[in-house]
């Protein structure tokens, strides 16, 4: 009896030791892959990683230039409105687009070594986090500039909630990446579908337009809150990215400058974000785990 307990204990110990070792090993691999991903992006460019800062900034300027007269009238903070939406959406787009073909692209490594298939989507998502960090520099810059222009500070204590929100966004984009990556191994047209879908998604998410303004227009057209109003409201609310983008704006500057009250410091909204994130993470992990044994025969 004692003996069996001991062997069980030994087995458990060696199992945990193995797990710890393989975690360390995978962490090393992921670190190398993230470095590679970030480097490869800006290879052969003169200003290198500066592009990560410039890219969202230039995008914002274009959108601001094109849409400010249509959607931004009366909003002194419209530049921030666009930038906040864009860097959140770019994070998700960058992570999923890079992750989608990652298993197939790395067939050279996968057919020669025993590697956990998870390291590829993980490293693509962590690469997106690095890019996000660079983009934040642009965000802080624009916050300073608009604060000065409006004689009102955009910086407030709610900014710290970003730290709590990011893991939820990561879970969402990682889960989605897992689903797409696994699908692409078996169906190569997923990439084309997803690219088209991303364009649609970009327009369906309030990145440059505003939810309230659109719903007001729908109401004005029908006279009351009719079918169009409810259909639009449903489409907007069913879009996970809307919730992330909206919350990010609220905590970075809206809560401070507009004096909006964040109910319970925004925790109920944060709860919704975590529900979305965990749901996608769960489904993604399940899909990926069930299919990954067969990747090797299809790449």
């Amino acid at each position: 009896m004692n003996n069996t307990m001991e062997t069980l204990n030994d087995k458990f110990r060696s199992y945990t030791a193995r797990k710890r070792n393989s975690f360390k090993m995978n962490a090393n691999i992921v670190r190398e892959l993230v470095k590679k991903n970030v480097k490869v992006q800006y290879r052969n460019s003169i200003i290198g990683a500066l592009w990560t800062v410039l890219n969202p900034l230039l995008n914002m300027l274009v959108m601001w230039f094109v849409f400010s007269t249509f959607f931004g009238t009366g909003d002194e903070w419209y530049a921030l409105y666009i930038l906040c939406g864009n860097i959140i959406f770019s994070f998700m787009r960058g992570a999923t687009v890079q992750s989608l073909p990652s298993i197939v692209y790395n067939r050279g490594l996968l057919t020669k070594n025993k590697i956990s298939q998870f390291v590829f989507p993980v490293s693509c998502n962590l690469g997106a986090v690095v890019n996000f960090a660079f983009s934040s520099v642009a965000l802080v810059g624009v916050m300073v500039v608009t604060s000065i222009a409006n004689h009102e500070s955009a910086f407030g204590p709610s900014l710290f909630l970003v730290v709590l929100m990011l893991p939820a966004l990561f879970l969402f984009s990682y889960g989605l990446s897992l689903i797409l990556t696994a699908m692409y191994v078996f169906f190569r047209d997923v990439q084309h579908f997803y690219n088209v879908f991303l364009t649609l998604w970009t327009y369906l998410t309030p990145l440059f337009w505003k939810k309230n303004a659109i719903l007001e227009k729908a109401k004005a057209q029908d006279g009351t809150e009719g079918f169009l109003y409810h259909a639009l409201e449903f489409v907007i609310n069913a879009n996970p990215m809307y919730h992330f983008v909206d919350y990010f704006r609220e905590i970075t500057y809206s809560a401070t400058v507009n004096g909006w009250s964040l109910d319970f410091y925004g925790f109920p909204k944060l709860g919704i974000l975590y529900l979305i994130g965990l749901a996608f993470f769960g489904i993604g992990t399940l899909v990926f785990s069930l299919t990954r044994k067969n990747f090797i025969y299809n790449i």
Binding site: I29, N113, I115, F186, F187, D189, K293, Y297, N298
Partner: protein
């Protein structure tokens, strides 16, 4: 007639092997036991969603199992080297991937004790966009080394591969010989217990080939186990103690290297 003899010989060998294994079981570094591998293919390969849904509606998504390897068994003792020989498409490279734990057997078991170096073959095992240096670090990480440990080995690897001036060039601009050299240099420098070599010892220039051959002998004397897929019979005979001959997914002969090679050559000549 010929065939029957060979099969009987195989059976005898197996009995002897089994007796041996009963005596000293722990010595085996690789144990391949009744391994079969099936690949599932459809009549036509479906690799897009559109096609998949059309088939689904028509109800034509039957999968067919194709047996790549059938009932393969062999064992390798620690420090011993084994060659896998046979015609193209017989399943030799697949066997290596089973040992490397890249493929999972459909039936049977593959037991490997010790560290396996990355499979050495002519395909690209590197990230094409990254430089040779970055690839050394990536491969090191995959083999379970930390950045520090690989940094220590880096100079040695570069020196052996003779690529000092080329380490900052992306792998996509390397010649196949250079890729093979780098792959070999990494694989031998990470202190593996098992090296899986697929046709790579016959590439590269004369100079490097000799260097490889010397290094292989040196490692073998140190007790590293080699599993070699090769068509070069003199090389096989000089490097290995044992050989498995795989033909049409099955083991035709297994045993002492010279015997198996002789049988294989005889079979090839008869076929002509």
């Amino acid at each position: 007639m010929e065939q029957k003899n060979i099969n009987e010989e195989v059976k005898n060998k197996e009995i002897i092997e089994n007796n041996e294994s009963a005596v000293q079981e722990e010595d085996y570094i690789i144990e391949v036991d009744n391994v079969s591998l099936d690949f599932y293919t459809r009549d036509e390969k479906i690799d897009n969603l559109k096609e998949f849904f059309i088939r689904l509606i028509k109800g034509k998504t039957e999968r067919k199992a194709v047996r790549i390897l059938n009932n393969i068994s062999f064992k390798v003792k620690r420090g011993e080297s084994i060659a896998i020989i046979g015609h193209n498409g017989a399943g030799k490279s697949t066997m290596l991937k089973l040992i490397a734990d890249i493929y999972r057997p459909t039936k049977g078991t593959v037991k490997v004790k010790g560290k396996v170096a990355p499979l050495l073959n002519l395909g690209a095992g590197f990230d094409q966009e990254s430089s040779a240096k970055e690839n050394v670090y990536l491969n090191g990480a995959i083999l379970g080394y930390s950045r520090k440990e690989i940094a220590k080995k880096y100079e040695e690897i570069v020196e052996f591969a003779e690529l000092k001036e080329h380490m900052h060039i992306p792998i996509k601009n390397f010649s196949s010989g250079m890729v093979a050299r780098l792959g070999f240099a990494i694989a031998i420098d990470v202190n593996p217990d098992i090296l899986l070599v697929d046709e790579i010892l016959s590439v590269g220039d004369e100079n490097f080939r000799n260097k490889c051959a010397r290094k292989v002998k040196e490692l073998r004397d140190q007790g590293v186990t080699f599993v070699i897929v090769s068509h070069n019979m003199p090389q096989v005979r000089s490097l290995c103690q044992k050989a498995v001959w795989i033909e049409n997914s099955e083991v035709m002969a297994y045993g002492e290297v010279n015997e198996v090679c002789d049988q294989y050559i005889k079979y090839c000549n008869n076929k002509k």
